[in-house]
Symmetry: D3
Subunit: 172 residues, 6 copies
């Protein structure tokens, strides 16, 4: 039994995340998906709450036909101190054997604590895909094709694009 | 579709919790199980980490034959300020329609924020069952019959009773 | 122009507080009333929110005929570190010349930072009057005669005694 | 009896704030003025402490002939988590019926918690007036005409412009 | 080159601590002395600030003839979360090879993170010697013979016993 | 006996720091060196942990032939609130008589609390030398001549340049 860990902010969950999750699941029996920066919401970087992101991830996993019983969805708050963040993740999560990430800071931090880290491969060139999606939302450009269908529907149901625009409108 | 929320510290998950969870599931379609005081561990009140408690809960749910796809297991840290704790729970969890609890402070806090709260009924007289279990562990008395079989096995595998005794040994 | 500072938790504001406030006002032109432990509520020690305590204090000051334009009502959160608490108070409050207190820890902390500290004299034997009031509320004994009339009415209006009893009911 | 809530950082209080406060007072009987980001000071964004801002606001209200007995001046610290900030404001403030703001993020957060939110109208084009004032202070340009006379005098008395320049001087 | 780590709260540094430090130094080349609970002061449990404790430790080491160039004195704040505390210690301290402690919780936490832990042996029966000293101070009983001479002198110079009594005087 | 205090982030300790430390030691008998922003690491601004910075400082002091028994090396965490930061420093450090700094914000904050502050003089034009060193590391340019030899060796031994590059690689 091998259990992996995959970390993201999922603002929102997109096709690059799904690609990485499936890649990780192909290499391990169970997968912990950490929803990072869990306490943040209502900003450009983090428009959605941890609860909304967990709900979107679950919809996306179901849409993708992934067996939920192999998945843990765990929100982990940021603590702003990189040197103790891996300990925080370990404390909030069931034990795991390997970390999957394409982020070099995450890789570095887990490697310094002795964890094996593997890359998940990239979905097209999906670095910064989350940022690109939020910028498209702001500019009124199409973004729906970059996320699972169920995620796009959820965002529309909770009027997520409107929220993003309102919280980014410059005032004060 | 009705989604409920059930909150506990699960130190460790015991038969009273399972009774309440099954009661809650009989009245709603999906259930969010909040693992409270998530940041604490290695004390008498909270010997196990949030990750260990999530792992034990999952084992117990599987043992009980509960469909995991209807369950969210969410760790939520304490913030020490009761007046904003409900907001914190709302932020970490997917949306929910009703709260199940037998704890009068939890009931009070959610009712003040406008949530419907229902009691789950008591398993025998299970108030303080968690405390009773930890005290039995300390004194070397039998405790295994108060928790699901898979939970007892897990605690033995991670040497949880030894941990509890060491962290409670008075030294300074 | 001399401005004093008086600190309490005001759980709830009682006749001893009013006595001390009037004593302080007789010795200075303006008075800052700090509502301490501002972030806490819904516990036996701190049943009321900072906002509720400010509202009760204002009612009591008006009942007492005290000129509100001479008063600052300032909530200050606890930070759990005594050595920097005086700095926190200074940061949240307009400048002040003297501290009025009967509490020997508060006296000590302000004196170590170089502030003059004066005693306000005691209303009968009012040490622990706040604790006594809350215990009477719990036991169903009369408490109304220990607080200003407007405070008693406010507590009844928000069902404060019921809240205190619910949050203190032992359940785990 | 209708009580409103108005939120600002007041770095420093300026004519746009006064315009909004008078507008809010014309529509409600009492007004809570929340001094936000209360814990910050000695930066370009927040040069003044909460205590100094409260003192300036009080001077401005008196200068304007506003009845202080209708006003609550409440410092509220930032907590960096938008989803629980409204709860924090509710906890620190007496109860209120309506929120007055021109800031779209504040509007959004209070509306999501079910509060009615009204705009206060704009004083000329007062968005960013606080920033403009601080930039003028740094560059040695006139700023006094953008704040109440008593506020300008207070800032000069505490040598606020000198502070702003020192804390913004690039060194390290 | 072997570097050890020894942790205490040093409220105040006493003969038991010195015994342990010398024992640890006899087994390693350099020693990191962590002053724990660094942010606390002015309570019965933690009357002295971290800075005062560091000053007392230095006096005691000099009195004892210990070479200061082999010693690191490092204050480390408590974070209230046992599962990440070892990471916090690692982050604040130079690297170390072994932990010396007689405290079973400290032993447990470092062992779970893979550090070798050794006992220092007990000076007479010095468990709780810190508590005993503070209680003697409160009751006006002799305590000076339980601490190094230079520590007793320092405590008298800063009027530490008077502080302890004032902060423990019950007033509310 | 005159004791000075010198504050830096020491990311990493460089020749400008050493120049200032020697200047400060020429004017006082003992020197407290505060390692600021102690909780941060693994970012461009703060790549090294407090423990690593303390270790590098100690190597540099030894290399420079400075008597370690006159030096205190104290990590102090940032609290993000300038108005109480001086209190935090006072709490973590032994008492001191004078502050040495070239930073105008540090100067301002200590002067507001009544401390004498002196400049240390500048080593060539060493403002921002820390930033310059880190930028050179990133770009693969020579940086070793800007730090003490022992510091350069230490950074190479722990592969500090590799760390800096990995944590700064842009990935999302």
């Amino acid at each position: 039994m091998k259990r992996g860990l995959f970390i993201g902010r999922f603002q929102p969950p997109h096709l690059g995340h799904l690609y990485a999750i499936k890649s990780a699941l192909s290499k391990s029996d169970e997968l912990i998906i950490v929803v990072g920066s869990a306490q943040y919401s209502h900003t450009f970087e983090n428009p959605f709450t941890a609860g909304e992101r967990i709900e979107m991830l679950r919809l996306a996993l179901i849409e993708e036909g992934i067996d939920l019983s192999k998945i843990f969805l765990i929100p982990v708050p940021d603590i702003g101190e990189h040197s103790i963040w891996v300990s925080k993740v370990k404390s909030f999560c069931p034990s795991f054997d390997v970390v999957y990430t394409n982020n070099s800071l995450v890789r570095r931090l887990f490697e310094e604590e002795g964890f094996p880290v593997e890359s998940t491969g990239l979905y097209r060139r999906d670095l910064e895909m989350g940022t690109a999606i939020r910028e498209r939302m702001l500019r009124g450009e199409p973004w729906e094709n970059l996320v699972p269908k169920s995620v796009a529907e959820y965002i529309k149901r909770i009027k997520g694009v409107e929220r993003l625009r309102e919280i980014c409108r410059k005032t004060d």
